[in-house]
Structures are given as structure tokens and as C-alpha cells.
């Protein structure tokens, strides 16, 4: 028969002195102080609210960038078109951790076919009133992939010399087939504000899913330029910041830190590797009490003596010797 297990001294009930401690009063005072501090900070500093960018705004501010992005969606060369899971089945796409690609394992659960969803289908909504566009779309869709690519390549080269005048994007003459009227139609649709709605609205009236318009805009250089002005890029410690001079999410500093250093800042698998590191570190944080060595650090770093300095001062005070009366 084994001896009964003695409880750890740390779990023993305190047999020393107690002091009055009013938990409810402490909480009420804390609540009042924190509330007042919050009101003060809100009144003095307010909060940031830079308006959301629309596709209409983007296409009006930088029509060449918009058309360039639209063309890359159409010919399948945009980031979204070649993204892989969860949006599409691009061969070989998907980040890896060693030999494993969790991205590919999760599969395509949010299907986005860039040419169809971001260009062709929105243009088709215009065809009832635009026979010229209906004809252009018909020609494009009836052509071979090679021919489509030839038109797109030629138009992409011409865009370098494009000029925007009187609401029209003018490119030098060339063999662009139906791509030129299609891109002109897409630009006009975007500038009117129609494309913003067309990319959100699907089979139902109510919609809250902005996946398609956000993917479209994220493929542009326009959105990135705006983010750079507000020091929001990954290389600028992006997520720890906020638009304007407001605090963002400083608690994400460690996550953002990895993106600033090699090999992560140049790795094609940076996101997957950094997420893996953060998952391990998070697990370590949660399981500190069970990790030998790590759990002993506080005992070796005498910060606790500062926290409990009154206690140690009282228990480590030399005993007073017997007093003698003169």
C-alpha cells in the first residue's frame, strides 16, 4: 500500500496572515476608471474610418490599371486566376510546409473562375442593350484558346501606350479582335458603378460575400498603392498598423515580424511557414505549465521578488532579539 500523496506546497491552503480584500469594490473602481479612460481616449483621438474603395473609384482614378487588371483576369494571368485552392484548381498552385500542402488538402471550397466570374459574366449582363458587346463576346468565346491568347497579348502590349481621353481608353491600332470592345465595355461598366454590384449580386437579392470584388481589386496595383500610403504593406509591419495615425493590432507584432526577415520575406511558402511557426508558438504559450525548462524560467528570473517584495521583506526580516530594559 503506497503512502498518500502529499499535496504540493503551492497548492496548500495559506496558513499565514490574511488581509481585507474587497473584490467587488475593486472591480467597480476598475470599471469606472477604465470607462472614463476609454471615453477620454475616444473623445480626444476618435477613430480612423478611411472610406472603402469601390471598383468605380478605382476605374475612374486609374483606368489603365483597371483595364490591365481586367485583361489579366480574362487571359488567366492574374494572381486570382492562378491562385489555386480554395478558389480554383490551378496545377501546382498552393503553399507547402515541407512536402505537405494543407492549402491543397482543403480543396476548392470557394470557386472563382477569374475569366468567367470577373469579366465574361458581368459583361453578359450588359448584352441585352449592347448588341456590339454581344457580338464581341460571341466572337471571343467561339475562338480557340490560342487565338484568345494572341488577342490578349497584343492588347496587353498596346496598353503600355494607351491614353485615356473623354471617358475612353485609346490604344494604338492592332490585332486585338473582340478584346478591345470587351475591355472598353468592362471599363464603362466599372466607371458607372455597375461592376461593383454585378460582382456581389448572385442568385439572391441579399448578399454579404465580397470575395469576387475584393479578389479583383487585390490583383491591381491601385489598392496596393493606397495601402502603401497608409503604411499597411507587409514590409511595413502591415497588420499592426491602421489607416492614419491610429493603433492597429500591435498584438500581432510577432506574426508580422516573421515577414520582415529572411528566409520568409522572399519565400514562396512564407505564409504557410509563418502560420506553422505561430501555431507552434501558440501551443507553447498555452502549454507552458507542462514544458520542463520553460516553466522554470520564472523561478530563475527574480521578477517575482519585485512583485511580492512586501511579502519577502516581511518574512526575510531578521528576527528581533530579546529586548532588555535599561
Amino acid at each position: 500500500m503506497s503512502a498518500p500523496k502529499q499535496p504540493s506546497p503551492d497548492s496548500a491552503v495559506w496558513k499565514g496572515e490574511y488581509r481585507r480584500y474587497d473584490l467587488v469594490k475593486e472591480f467597480v473602481i476598475a470599471l469606472v476608471v477604465v470607462s472614463l479612460l476609454t471615453v477620454l481616449l475616444a473623445a480626444v483621438f476618435s477613430s480612423s474610418d478611411k472610406k472603402a474603395v469601390t471598383i468605380a473609384q478605382w476605374s475612374r482614378s486609374d483606368p489603365t490599371d483597371f483595364v490591365t487588371t481586367g485583361l489579366s483576369e480574362l487571359d488567366g494571368t492574374s494572381t486570382t486566376a492562378m491562385y489555386g485552392p480554395p478558389y480554383n484548381h490551378t496545377s501546382g498552385a498552393g503553399q507547402k510546409i515541407g512536402p505537405i500542402s494543407l492549402q491543397r488538402l482543403a480543396g476548392v471550397r470557394i470557386p472563382v473562375d477569374a475569366p468567367t466570374d470577373l469579366v465574361l459574366r458581368p459583361l453578359e449582363t450588359l448584352t441585352p442593350d449592347r448588341p456590339d458587346l454581344r457580338s464581341a463576346l460571341g466572337t471571343y468565346q467561339a475562338a480557340t484558346s490560342a487565338k484568345q491568347q494572341h488577342w490578349a497579348d497584343a492588347y496587353a502590349k498596346a496598353l503600355a501606350h494607351a491614353q485615356f481621353r473623354n471617358g475612353q481608353l485609346n490604344v494604338p491600332p492592332g490585332d486585338y479582335g473582340p478584346v478591345s470592345p470587351m475591355m472598353a465595355g468592362l471599363l464603362g461598366f466599372a466607371r458607372s458603378g455597375g461592376l461593383d454590384g454585378a460582382l456581389v449580386t448572385h442568385a439572391q437579392f441579399y448578399a454579404t460575400d465580397y470575395t469576387k470584388p475584393l479578389l479583383f481589386m487585390a490583383d491591381s496595383t491601385y489598392l496596393e498603392g493606397l495601402a502603401q500610403q497608409d503604411h499597411l504593406l507587409g514590409g511595413q509591419w502591415g497588420m499592426t498598423n491602421e489607416t492614419g495615425n491610429y493603433p492597429g493590432q500591435p498584438w500581432l507584432w510577432l506574426y508580422t515580424f516573421w515577414y520582415q526577415i529572411s528566409p520568409f520575406k522572399t519565400s514562396a511558402n512564407a505564409d504557410a511557414l509563418i502560420w506553422s511557426i505561430m501555431a507552434i508558438l501558440t501551443l507553447v504559450l498555452v502549454l507552458v505549465p507542462f514544458i520542463p525548462g520553460l516553466r522554470s524560467i520564472p523561478r530563475r528570473v527574480p521578477v517575482y521578488r519585485l512583485i511580492w517584495r512586501d511579502y519577502y521583506r516581511s518574512v526575510e526580516r531578521p528576527r528581533a532579539g530579546p529586548t532588555t530594559e535599561a
Binding site: P9, Y21, D49, P85, W275, L285, V288, V315, E316
Partner: protein, 225 residues
């Protein structure tokens, strides 16, 4: 369901009574809301735990006020902007207090003495809070939300989470922000605080020379009950 019983005759026979007795056994009222603490509980660092909970109250209160008018209100109303500012700054204070609390508890090795679950629930609450704040930034419906969503998707997609947790879907993120994650945080904080009350505040490491006449004793006393 009601059944006539003699006074005192239901002891041990109902689920409700069993639950009440189990609750009282685990956490008697004087342990749940004590009005005294061991003498070593005397440092400003203890304030940051309760300050974190106070900030959480302000976060939830300001969030509820924003929820009354809906997610677009604060973009068009100066009153709404003020409430949004309250929400933002209370979140910043919440994290500030929580991080100091966390570091202090680490330096005190507050998991000692069967208090590991107290640490675990606190650490998980910290992680879930990061998720709640993140979905809040995604729910702002402004440029910040757009940019954060477009960047964060790559990290989440790279490990397969993005296939199920779509940061580009405002509806999904808003629901997580106003319902699922706050419920998770509140539940974790409640369990965390109950564990603190059940196991008490972790005692100091042994002193170099303890001259007290009554050192901590492992023997149970009336205060155990």
C-alpha cells in the same frame, strides 16, 4: 415537473439538487466571493487582471451599442463614430491590460499548485481575443477592412483555414465577430475566474529565510471547505 414532498425529503433525489450541491462543494460562497486574501496579494500587478475584465465589459457594452444600429451606422453618424471610438480604445486597453496580466502571471509561475488549467484558459482566452479583434477589423466596412482581408486571406488559405473561414465574406466575419467569438471569450473568462477562485491566488516562491512562525501548511483547514 412538481411532486409533493416532505420538507427535507428530496435530498439526493433530483438533478437540480445534485447540481446545486456539486456547485456548492466545488465553490462555496465564501470561496467564490471572499472578502479577504492572503497577505501576499498586495501588488499593483494584481490590478491588471481585474482591469482586463473591466475593459472587456466596456468592449462588450460599446459593441452592443454599435450592434443596436447595425454595422453601417458609425460611418454616417458622429454619435456612431464616437461609439466606434469607444469600442476601438477599449479593445486597445483590453489587450494592454491583458498582456501585462499575462506576463505578470508568467513571472509568478501562476500555474503552480494545480493551477495549470487557470493558465491554459487564460492563454486560450488571449488567443481567441486576437481572433475577435481581427474579425472586428474585418467588419469595419472601410478601406482598412478591405486591405486586411486581401492580405490575411493568403495566410489563412496557405494552411487550409481560408477554405472554411473566408475573410472576404463580410457576413461570415461579422457573425464571428459579434456572436461566436465574444461568446467564446466570455465563457473562457468565466471559467478562468472560477478556477482562480477555486484554487486561490498562487503563493510566492519560498523565501530565502522564512522567519514566520506559521509557514504554509499542506494540511486542510476550515478554509478548504
Amino acid at each position: 415537473m412538481t411532486t409533493p414532498v416532505q420538507p427535507g425529503g428530496t435530498e439526493g433525489s433530483s438533478w437540480t439538487g445534485a447540481l446545486r450541491r456539486a456547485g456548492l462543494r466545488a465553490l462555496p460562497p465564501e470561496q467564490l466571493l471572499p472578502d479577504e486574501q492572503p497577505v501576499y496579494v498586495a501588488s499593483w500587478v494584481y490590478v491588471f487582471g481585474v482591469a482586463t475584465i473591466a475593459a472587456l465589459f466596456v468592449v462588450i457594452g460599446s459593441g452592443l451599442l454599435l450592434a443596436v444600429e447595425g454595422p453601417t451606422w458609425w460611418h454616417t453618424s458622429s454619435v456612431g463614430l464616437f461609439f466606434n471610438s469607444l469600442h476601438l480604445w477599449s479593445v486597445e486597453l483590453f489587450f494592454f491590460f491583458m498582456v501585462i496580466h499575462l506576463w505578470a502571471k508568467f513571472m509568478m509561475a501562476a500555474w503552480r499548485g494545480r493551477r495549470a488549467m487557470t493558465w491554459v484558459t487564460g492563454a486560450v482566452a488571449f488567443v481567441v481575443s486576437i481572433g475577435a479583434a481581427f474579425t472586428g477589423y474585418l467588419s469595419q466596412q472601410n478601406f482598412s477592412s478591405q486591405w486586411i482581408a486581401s492580405q490575411a486571406k493568403d495566410g489563412l488559405n496557405s494552411v487550409g483555414i481560408g477554405a472554411f473561414f473566408n475573410v472576404l465574406d463580410f457576413g461570415q466575419m461579422f457573425t464571428w465577430h459579434v456572436a461566436l467569438l465574444p461568446l467564446g471569450i466570455v465563457a473562457l473568462v468565466v471559467v478562468h475566474v472560477l478556477l482562480v477562485r477555486k484554487h486561490g491566488v498562487v503563493p510566492p516562491f519560498p523565501a530565502k529565510t522564512d522567519t514566520r512562525s506559521q509557514p504554509p501548511s499542506p494540511l486542510p483547514t476550515a478554509r478548504d471547505s
